[in-house]
Amino acid sequence: MPVLEGKELRIVGFLCNWCSYGGADTAGVGRFAQPTDLRVIKLPCTGRVNPLFVVRAFLNGADGVLVSGCHPGDCHYTAGNFYARRRLEVLRELLDVMGIQPERFHYTWVSASEGQKWKQVVSDFTARIHELGPATSFSSCAAVAVETGMKTAI
């Protein structure tokens, strides 16, 4: 798939070191073409994903956030993804009430051998974010205007 020339959106991916990062690697080694909007951050485990990482990413201007880890039952640390699943489900509601469309956030499980699945997840999620378009961002507020100094005298 070609790069979306100049039209990339900002998608942040939090990937666990043991499964999904490996899966992404497998997809790369297999030369599966994927969209390039995703910026990957490697973490030891989805259990390390503080849901606030996701919130921070959105507030800093991400258009989509993807979390991917080992399949339930396959966690390298036994239970990290079980905790993550609960937290990330709850997170969806917070995003929603904050006015960040929950569809912009997705979590999934991809193992190190699932290069093809990884390609599918990235392609589907990127397509979804492109359908949604850029996320709502902060406009310049009165406070900002005051803070940056009074208007230059004419």
């Binding site: 699943r85 609960r86 709850v90 509601e93 009430v97 904050m98 006015g99 960040i100 709502t136 902060f138």
Partner: protein, 320 residues
Amino acid sequence: MSQHTLELRKLIAEALPGLDVVLAWTSGFSPMTSTPLFIATDEDLDRLDFGPMHVQNLAAYLPSLKGRKVGIVTRGCDSRTIIELLQENLINRDEITIFGISCTGAINIRKVREAVGGEKLRSVETGKDIVSVTTDEGTHTVPLHNVLMDKCYSCQSQTPLIHDHMVTERTGCHLTGEAPESSLDRLDAMEPAARFAFWEESMDRCIRCYACRNACPLCVCKDSCVAQSRDPHWLDQSDTPREKLMFQAIHALHTAGRCTECGECERACPMGIPVLAMKQALNRRIKHLFDYQAGMDEESTPPLFMFRQQEEHIKERDAR
């Protein structure tokens, strides 16, 4: 003074010699306000008062008084906070003496002000089902049901779920019928972009006083809160809606599955920002996903401190 209050004073007077301090309420600078009362002597006790205007959740002081023998006057909602604190081992049950009272609803003075169109309040008298409000412009009668604290509409019990002493129970409650529209209802009715804009505008007036945090009985790391930490640097000190909204997200997620919706965060906010709505939304989800409400059972584990291999209510989704 009500019979109820007299009985409460008598109960406390009997127990006071064995306690370091008893937490209760008294009136603030006007009868429309209340302030926590720390009772150590009989003279302090003479100032105790209780009614629909006495609003603070006194359990917020308990963690900081750990190690002392503390008595606490407790309504149903406050008892949920105490239970949650016990669940998390933040306080010791044997150090606390609970004086239970049955509550008929607490008034949200901000709603009273709204109900009379923002006119300057002179006095507020509570009747059985109504509040009689005198303002600069005249006297208004407002149904009590419309001006209660948000938590009253999701009240689980008028009387505390745990107690050591109990003032004779009262029946009857100011709750009659459906809850009026809440901030969360209003947010639910909005499009996501409007919701985002709502928060941006609200956060624009946030002064970052952290009253929401400091009034929260479950925010127990106040003095080393990430809000002011440089390492990790979760928040920029810039006074922008972005950073201030981020703090609210931090507060909501740090109390997810623990928050009993006592509403102190929102009540304490001097800028009238409906910060409780975020926590209510999370609680709604947690109730649905895990069939759990915080502060109901001393023995249960908060849902985000545990997991099940098969989650009955979690449905995995596709990326598309």
